[in-house]
Symmetry: C2
Subunit: 320 residues, 2 copies
């Protein structure tokens, strides 16, 4: 069940309210200021204002280097701990409150009354269900997950999914808004816990925790392995393209033939899915669409150039 | 049980034999040539020579940009399909044969007789056990896994672990050799299937396969999520440091307090380990050692600079 939603032109949005004073809430405020929006930051406790402003100011150099939008200014920031006032003129609300379901539900109950019902409320939750978050909200049709990655002002991904009571029009609206705002939104196909990227990241983290808990690797071993091994590739491509290139001239098809049987081996404590003909074909098709006509030699050349640039970039984080 | 191993000075190694004509075997040959070594490539079938040479030549631009070692030359490459001749003068053997246990066991049975017993034979296997690979080898004490990531000429990680019959001296020797040769070796604490980095990578890949098989995400969604979300961070740091920064000023300790309970949620199909006080402390200690005195603001600044450089590097792979 969902009520229809009708929003303003996403390109006309000027005033954004960001809820939350942590790295994510502050990061969103900084990002929107850098795109030229007027930003109101709501903080739960007035004592958080100094640390919020410092987080925002600390990100400004990076945002400047990435390129500021027209009218971008730190002067367009208002900080308040009055929730009603914070959202009164909001044309978009970005919620980055702590990850607690009772807290989010109580907040959405309030926001449901305070925020005009033609305005989308976007939650930064890392993996909780919007169906559950919107349970006590009287106007749930415009509440949509918009999950970023830290820092939200530099990483473009926003995972988008509504709850059961979210209107498809609100989801459409926010997908258009994210593109206007310069982000890379991913519309999820189903509401699954942890969404897409967090599930992938968590699977890796859990396997790492098992290894640390069993004395098989130290935290340093885990980090060393990632950043000297598969890590730099993930800056350039996801697992599908990595295995496509891993198959050499034969691409994904050859890769699955050669490494497919290894899925049955006890590599990781996660059970592998059956590599059915349908799944195999979906992977081959996906790899070919992403290769987009580029042959193996071309992909290899581009990957090498990218990896060299990535490896040079590592020294900025003090990594050699 | 292991027999003592006594190798030459790792700095004195000049002649290396690479076994295998695929992207990994060719990648190793290219890497060692670029470091100035004399390389003999053994290929199973003479028909593979042209494609092997092309793979090596195609990587030379990248290797040149990364900086060639003294005496580096494509002229120092010999290609042969005579195994005995290929290893006769070898001072180090890098085996990158196909991932088949019967094939590897038969190969190590031969190599055990053909290669001088003071020479290390290093397997590129992605996750198979050296204890099993060395079963039919008469001189198993110098056989050690050295697992690279593709392309081995650009990604520095080499995962190192011996089998039950491998001599600790051979493992010591090869750790020193990898450092002399300019790689980043990770000595594993235990012989576990899939080693460290492949287990981590596989956990993520399996979770992705489950999502694709269930219609929760397409291969493109998986890749899009990684490369616009957590991917760029993994070029700079591993999961421990990522969560340390995710905790804001409170670091890993705060992060585990806030997100620890999420480990119990059904994010990913992989069961989470218990977050015991010992595991919690190991993570906090590991994060602090890697932070190496850098405070949150410093780490944030360095990460931002790294991410900007990484994002600019992405365009080389045709990614915007």
């Amino acid at each position: 069940m969902s009520t229809t939603f009708k929003g303003m032109d996403p390109e006309a949005v000027r005033r954004i309210t960001c809820i939350g004073a942590g790295p994510i809430g502050a990061g969103w405020a900084a990002y929107f200021l850098a795109q030229g929006y007027e930003v109101t930051s709501y903080i739960h406790d007035p004592v958080e204002e100094a640390s919020l402003r410092k987080l925002i100011e600390d990100s400004w150099d990076a945002l400047t280097e990435m390129g500021l939008g027209e009218g971008a200014s730190l002067q367009k920031l208002t900080v308040t701990s009055d929730l009603a006032g914070a959202v009164e003129h909001a044309e978009f609300v970005k919620e980055s409150a702590p990850e607690s379901m009772p807290l989010k539900q109580a907040l959405y109950e309030q926001l449901g009354e305070l925020v005009a019902d033609n305005v989308v409320i976007s939650s930064s939750t890392s993996g909780m269900s919007m169906t559950e978050i919107q349970e006590k909200c009287s106007t749930p049709q415009r509440t949509v997950v918009g999950h970023p990655f830290n820092p939200p002002y530099l990483l473009p991904l926003v995972e988008v999914i509504g709850g059961e009571k979210t209107s498809p029009e609100a989801v459409d609206w926010v997908m258009r808004f994210w593109k206007v705002a310069g982000k890379a939104p991913l519309l999820m196909k189903k509401e699954i816990p942890g969404f897409v990227a967090t599930r992938l990241q968590e699977a890796m983290w859990r396997e790492g925790l098992h290894m640390i808990a069993n004395g098989e690797a130290s935290p340093e071993d885990i980090d060393f392995a990632i950043l000297n091994g598969p890590g730099p590739r993930w800056a350039l491509m996801g697992p599908t393209m990595i295995y496509h290139l891993g198959g050499g001239e034969g691409g994904m098809k050859y890769c699955l033939e050669q490494f497919g049987p290894a899925l049955k081996l006890p590599w990781t404590r996660l059970e592998a899915p059956e590599l059915t003909p349908e799944l195999t074909q979906a992977l081959i098709d996906g790899a070919n669409r992403m290769a987009d006509g580029r042959d193996y030699a071309t992909l290899n050349k581009q990957r090498d150039a990218g990896l060299i640039a990535v490896r040079k970039a590592r020294s900025k984080f003090g990594t050699t």
